[in-house]
C-alpha cells in the first residue's frame, strides 16, 4: 500500500442543530462531507459546479451551495441547515415553504426539490428582512434547474409560502 497523509485534519461545526466532528482533507467540498461522511443525503449532486443548485443549503440562515465550499472554510460556530433540518428552524413538523410545496403538489421526481425549497425559503427570508415581497423579477433570478419542468408550480408555491412565512418571521426573528 502506498503511504497516505499521516494526519488527516478534523473539522467541527453545527449541522441541523447538532455539533458534528468529521475527519477528512480540508479541500473536500462540504457537499461530500454531508453526503458521504455524515450520511445527510437531502442535498443532491446535480453538477458540482454551483450551476444546478440541487445541493442548496443554508449557512447561518443564508442560502449557499455546499458543492462549492471546502470544508476547511466552515468555522466551528457555523450553523449549516440542510433540507432535513429546515422544519426545525421554525419549530414545526414542516416549514411553511415545505407545506406550500405539498399544497401545490410541486414535486415530480423530487430530485431537485430540496434545493428548490432551500432557495425559496432563503429568498423569502431575505426579502422579508428587507421589508419587501417577492417579485416576478426575483423568481426569474432563481437558477435552480428542474428537469421535470415544475417551474410554474414552484412559482405558485413560493408566493403561498411567502404569505405563510409572514406569520413565522415574528417567531424566528
Amino acid at each position: 500500500m502506498p503511504s497516505k497523509e499521516p494526519t488527516v485534519p478534523r473539522h467541527s461545526f453545527i449541522v441541523n442543530g447538532k455539533r458534528v466532528q468529521v475527519q477528512c482533507e480540508g479541500d473536500v467540498r462540504l457537499l461530500w462531507v454531508l453526503r458521504d461522511i455524515l450520511g445527510i443525503t437531502g442535498p443532491k449532486y446535480g453538477c458540482g459546479l454551483r450551476v444546478c443548485r440541487a445541493c442548496t443549503c443554508h449557512i447561518n440562515g443564508k442560502e449557499f451551495n455546499p458543492c462549492s465550499v471546502p470544508v476547511s472554510q466552515i468555522k466551528p460556530d457555523d450553523e449549516i441547515t440542510t433540507i432535513e433540518g429546515l422544519a426545525a428552524t421554525v419549530g414545526k413538523g414542516l416549514h411553511p415553504m415545505q407545506q406550500a410545496w405539498i399544497d401545490h403538489d410541486v414535486a415530480q421526481c423530487g430530485y431537485c426539490q430540496p434545493g428548490q425549497i432551500m432557495t425559496a425559503a432563503a429568498l423569502v427570508r431575505r426579502k422579508q428582512a428587507a421589508g419587501q415581497t417577492v417579485t416576478d423579477a426575483d423568481l426569474e433570478q432563481i437558477r435552480n434547474i428542474c428537469r421535470c419542468g415544475t417551474y410554474f408550480r414552484i412559482r405558485e408555491a413560493i408566493v403561498a409560502g411567502e404569505t405563510a412565512m409572514r406569520g413565522e418571521l415574528t417567531h424566528t426573528g
Binding site: 477528512c24 458521504d36 414542516l94 415545505q98 410545496w101 434547474i145 419542468g149
Partner: protein, 767 residues
C-alpha cells in the same frame, strides 16, 4: 339495486398466506362473463397496444397484500421516475378497496424474471396496461375482507358496507381491515371472480390527488440510488475519454493517483458495447474521486465520431433521405426540410448505480425501466447464475428515456467485479452530457400537395442518426413479432416509428417513413421523452400553418376543418377558447397553435411568444434568454384521467421540454465530442424562460381507458412554439432549436481532464 358495482366480472386469485393476499394476472385479467360488452375506441394498433399486448403470454401475478395494521402493500413492477405512477396506482387501489390513500403503500418491485416483458416502463404505457389488473386484485381483496367480516359479525353479505377501511354490518356493528387481515387469509390458493366498481361509484379515481411521496420529497427523505446506504459501497467515478466512445488504453500515473487522499482503488475499465468505461476511481468521498480523475494521466484510443462534424452528419442525413413518391399531377406542393440538432437527454439525477459483486453473487440497485433484461445481462456479463443476481429498482430522479438503458448498472457491476468491492457509481454531470445518451440529430422533410382547397397528399421523410433501441425495448419488439428476431437496428427504429407516427388530419394519401444513418452505437443515443413525435409534429404543424396561409384560412379554423378525430377537435376547441385564440397581439409577439395524438390521448396547445428585442436581448449571467413563451394553454384528453393533478404536472413538464427543444436546448459537436458540459451550457428551460402564465385543462373522461401522459406534453408544445415563432417574427424556422447556429454563449470546458473542478468560492455567494 345499483350497488355501485359493475356486472362485469374479472378472474383473479386469493393466494395462500398469513394475511389476505389478493392477486390478478398482470397481463389482463380474464373476463368472467361478457354480458355487458366493453366499448373500446376502434383505433389503429399503436405503441400502447403493443406494450400492453406484449404482456399477454405471461401468466404471472401482481398482488395486493392486506397487512395486520390495516395498510395495504403493493409492489409495482414498474419504475417511478417522477411521472406519478405510484400515486395513480395508490389511488386506484384505495378507491377499489374503500381505503384512505395514506394506507396504501406502493413500492417498486425488484426484477421479477417470471414477468417477462411485464416489468418494462416506457411508451407512457403504465396506467394503460395495469389499471384493470390492479383494480381486479384490489376488488378481490375487498371482497375477501367483506367475506371475513360477514363470517365474523354474521348476517347477510348484501347488507354490508365498506368505507374508509372499515366494514359495517347491517346491524351497525363494524370491523376494521386491520382486524380482518388474518381472518381473511386463505390456506389454499383459489381462483375467484369479482366485479369492479362502476365508474360513477369511484370516489378517488378522477379526482385531483397530490403525490404520495410529496412529504418524503420536501423533507429530503425520498431516497434515490445514490442516497442508499449499502455497506462498503464507497463513492466511485470514472475518468472518461476526451472523445465520444474512446477507450482507455493505459493508465500512466496509477501509483501517484492511488496515493492521493481518500483513494482506495484505481482501475482501467475497458470500453465495451455495454460499458462506457475509462479509469475507475473509488474513494472515501466523491470529491476525492473528482480530484483523482483530474490528476489521472491516461492514454486514450480513438472515439467513434472523431472525424464527424455537424455538417458531415447533415450531409449523411441528406444522402440517406428516402425518396418521395411521384408528385400528383396538377397539384401545388409545399416542400420543406427541417433540421433538429442533437439534444441532451439528461435527467437531473446523473447516471448512478450501487453494485456489490462477489465471486458467487451480485446485488445491484439502480433506476431501471427494464430490470428483468438488466438482470439477465448482468448475470451473463459477470458469469453468474441468474438466481444469484438480485436487481433492485431504485426511485429515479427523472428519466426522459435514460432509464430504458442500464448504463450505470452495467458499469457499476463490472467495476465492482474488477475491484472485488462494493461501489456506489456516479457519472459526473459533464460525463452525462458528453458521454451520455442524447436525442439523435434528425432531418424531417415534409411535402404537402394541394388542389382546389384540399390537401391530397402528405408525405414526411424522417432521417435520423440511429436511435439505440437495443436495451429492453428492442427485445420486447422482437418477442411480440413486431420485428423479426434477426432484424437490424433500423428495423427496430422503423417499427417504433410506424407505431408512433401519424397524420392527424384528412390530408389524402399520407406516407411517413424513417431512415437512419450510422450504427446504433456510433453516437450514444436514446429515444428521449416522446421519441420521434416532437420533431414529427413540429415539422408537420409548420407545414399545416403554411397550408393555412396558402388557403388564406386561420390556423385554428384550418386545423378544425381537416382534423380526423373528434377527441382532437374537442381539445383544439377547448385550447383555442381558453387560450383566447385570435386575440390582438402586440408587434413582435404572436400566438401559435398545434395538436397531437398518441398513447390513446389527445392534446392541443396554444402558446404566446414574445420575440421583441427587449425580451430577446434580456441578459442573465451565464444563461441564455432569447424569445420567451409568455403564456401556454394546453388541453389534454387522457381517456380516463385517473389523477388530473398528476396529468397537469406531466403536461407542465412537457411544456417546458417543448419550449426548450424549439428555442434553446441542443448539443454542439466538435473534435469528436459535445461542447456542452454543464446546465449553463445546455440551455434547458430555466425560470427566466419558463412561461409565467400556464393553463392546463384536463378534459373529462372520454374513452374510459387511461391513456399515456408522461411524454405527451412535449410534441404539441414544441410545435405550437415553432408556429408562434414564425407568426411573431415572419421568419419561417427550419432548424431547431432556433438558436443553434448563434455564437456559443459559453466557453467549453476542456476534455482533459474530463470534468471541471468544483469551485471553492461558494461562501462568497451566500445570501
Amino acid at each position: 339495486m345499483d350497488d355501485g358495482v359493475s356486472r362485469r366480472r374479472f378472474i383473479g386469485y386469493l393466494l395462500a398466506g398469513p394475511t389476505l393476499i389478493a392477486a390478478a394476472n398482470l397481463s389482463g385479467p380474464r373476463r368472467a362473463d361478457a354480458a355487458v360488452p366493453t366499448v373500446q375506441p376502434v383505433d389503429e394498433y399503436d405503441l400502447s397496444d403493443l406494450l400492453t399486448d406484449a404482456a399477454m403470454p405471461t401468466s404471472n401475478l401482481i398482488t395486493v397484500v392486506v397487512n395486520n395494521d390495516g395498510t395495504v402493500s403493493f409492489a409495482l413492477p414498474r419504475a417511478e421516475v417522477g411521472q406519478g405512477i405510484t400515486t395513480a396506482v395508490a389511488m386506484t387501489i384505495a378507491d377499489e378497496m374503500e381505503l384512505p390513500i395514506g394506507k396504501v403503500k406502493v413500492t417498486l418491485a425488484d426484477a421479477r424474471p417470471e414477468l417477462l416483458f411485464n416489468q418494462f416502463t416506457g411508451g407512457s404505457n403504465t396506467m394503460h396496461a395495469i389499471y384493470t389488473p390492479v383494480r381486479t386484485a384490489a376488488a378481490i381483496a375487498r371482497a375477501g375482507l367483506t367475506r371475513a367480516a360477514v363470517a365474523h359479525l354474521g348476517g347477510r353479505a348484501s347488507g354490508y358496507t365498506v368505507h374508509d377501511g372499515v366494514i359495517t354490518g347491517p346491524d351497525g356493528r363494524s370491523v376494521r381491515f386491520s382486524d380482518l387481515a388474518r381472518r381473511a387469509a386463505v390456506a389454499k390458493t383459489t381462483e375467484v371472480s369479482v366485479a369492479l366498481k362502476r365508474r360513477s361509484a369511484q370516489t378517488i379515481v378522477g379526482r385531483p390527488q397530490g403525490r404520495v411521496d410529496a412529504r418524503d420529497i420536501v423533507t429530503g427523505h425520498k431516497q434515490f440510488a445514490m442516497d442508499l446506504s449499502v455497506p462498503g459501497a464507497l463513492p466511485t467515478m470514472v475518468c472518461r475519454p476526451p472523445t465520444i466512445n474512446g477507450g482507455a488504453e493505459k493508465i500512466l500515473n496509477g501509483a501517484k493517483v492511488r496515493a492521493m487522499p481518500g483513494i482506495t482503488d484505481v482501475a482501467l475499465i475497458p470500453h465495451t458495447p455495454y460499458v462506457a468505461g475509462g479509469v475507475a476511481v473509488r474513494a472515501q468521498t466523491f470529491g476525492q474521486c473528482i480530484d483523482a480523475i483530474r490528476a489521472l494521466r491516461v492514454s486514450w484510443g480513438p472515439g467513434s465520431v472523431d472525424t464527424k462534424t455537424e455538417a458531415s452528419v447533415l450531409a449523411d442525413l441528406k444522402a440517406a433521405e428516402l425518396p418521395m413518391p411521384p408528385a400528383v399531377p396538377l397539384t401545388n406542393a409545399i416542400d420543406e426540410t427541417f433540421t433538429f440538432y442533437q439534444r441532451p437527454g439528461d435527467p437531473l439525477e446523473p447516471n448512478c448505480a450501487v453494485a456489490d459483486v462477489r465471486s458467487d453473487r451480485a446485488e445491484i440497485w439502480s433506476c431501471l425501466k427494464s430490470p428483468i433484461w438488466a438482470r439477465e445481462q448482468i448475470a451473463l456479463n459477470l458469469g453468474l447464475p441468474l438466481q444469484n443476481v438480485i436487481v433492485h429498482v431504485a426511485q429515479g430522479g427523472g428519466s426522459f428515456g435514460r432509464h430504458l438503458f442500464c448504463d450505470a448498472a452495467f458499469e457499476a457491476a463490472v467495476i465492482s467485479k474488477r475491484l472485488g468491492k462494493p461501489v456506489k457509481l456516479m457519472w459526473s454531470r459533464t460525463d452525462s452530457f458528453r458521454q451520455g445518451r442524447s436525442h439523435p440529430m434528425v432531418t424531417s422533410r415534409v411535402r404537402a400537395q394541394h388542389l382546389a382547397g384540399n390537401v391530397v397528399a402528405f408525405d414526411q421523410r424522417h432521417t435520423s442518426v440511429a436511435t439505440d433501441f437495443t436495451q429492453g425495448l428492442g427485445e420486447l419488439l422482437t418477442a411480440t413479432a413486431a420485428v423479426p428476431p434477426d432484424a437490424n437496428y433500423l428495423e427496430y427504429s422503423a417499427a417504433i416509428f410506424l407505431l408512433t407516427a401519424s397524420v392527424p388530419y384528412n390530408f389524402g394519401v399520407a406516407t411517413q417513413l424513417l431512415n437512419e444513418v450510422y450504427e446504433y452505437s456510433t453516437f450514444n443515443t436514446s429515444s428521449v421523452r416522446n421519441i420521434y413525435s416532437p420533431e414529427m409534429r413540429t415539422a408537420g404543424e409548420l407545414i399545416v400553418d403554411k397550408l393555412a396561409e396558402t388557403f388564406d384560412t386561420d390556423p385554428y379554423q384550418f386545423r378544425r376543418q381537416f382534423i380526423r378525430d373528434d377527441r382532437v377537435r374537442a381539445v383544439l376547441d377547448k385550447a383555442a377558447s381558453a387560450g383566447q385564440w385570435g386575440r390582438a397581439m402586440q408587434p413582435g409577439t404572436a400566438q401559435g397553435i398545434a395538436i397531437h395524438r398518441e398513447y390513446k390521448s389527445a392534446a392541443a396547445c396554444v402558446v404566446e411568444i414574445d420575440c421583441t428585442p427587449a425580451t430577446v436581448n434580456r441578459t442573465v449571467t451565464d444563461g441564455f434568454t432569447g424569445p420567451r413563451v409568455t403564456r401556454v394553454t394546453f388541453a389534454v384528453d387522457a381517456g380516463l384521467p385517473i389523477n388530473p393533478l398528476g396529468i397537469e404536472a406531466q403536461m407542465l413538464g412537457g411544456i417546458n421540454d417543448g419550449i426548450a427543444q424549439a428555442l434553446t436546448f441542443s448539443l454542439h459537436l466538435q473534435d469528436g465530442h459535445w461542447l456542452e458540459g454543464s446546465w449553463d451550457n445546455a440551455y434547458y428551460t430555466r425560470q427566466w424562460n419558463t412561461p409565467p402564465d400556464v393553463d392546463v385543462i384536463v378534459m373529462p373522461t372520454t374513452t374510459g381507458t387511461p391513456g399515456g401522459i408522461g411524454e405527451f406534453g412535449v410534441a404539441a408544445t414544441m410545435a405550437a412554439t415553432a408556429c408562434a415563432y414564425w407568426r411573431a417574427t415572419g421568419t419561417f424556422p427550419t432548424q431547431f432549436p432556433i438558436n443553434h447556429d448563434q455564437a456559443l454563449g459559453f466557453t467549453p470546458y476542456p476534455t482533459v481532464p474530463p470534468l471541471p473542478q468544483s469551485p471553492t468560492d461558494g461562501l462568497k455567494y451566500a445570501q
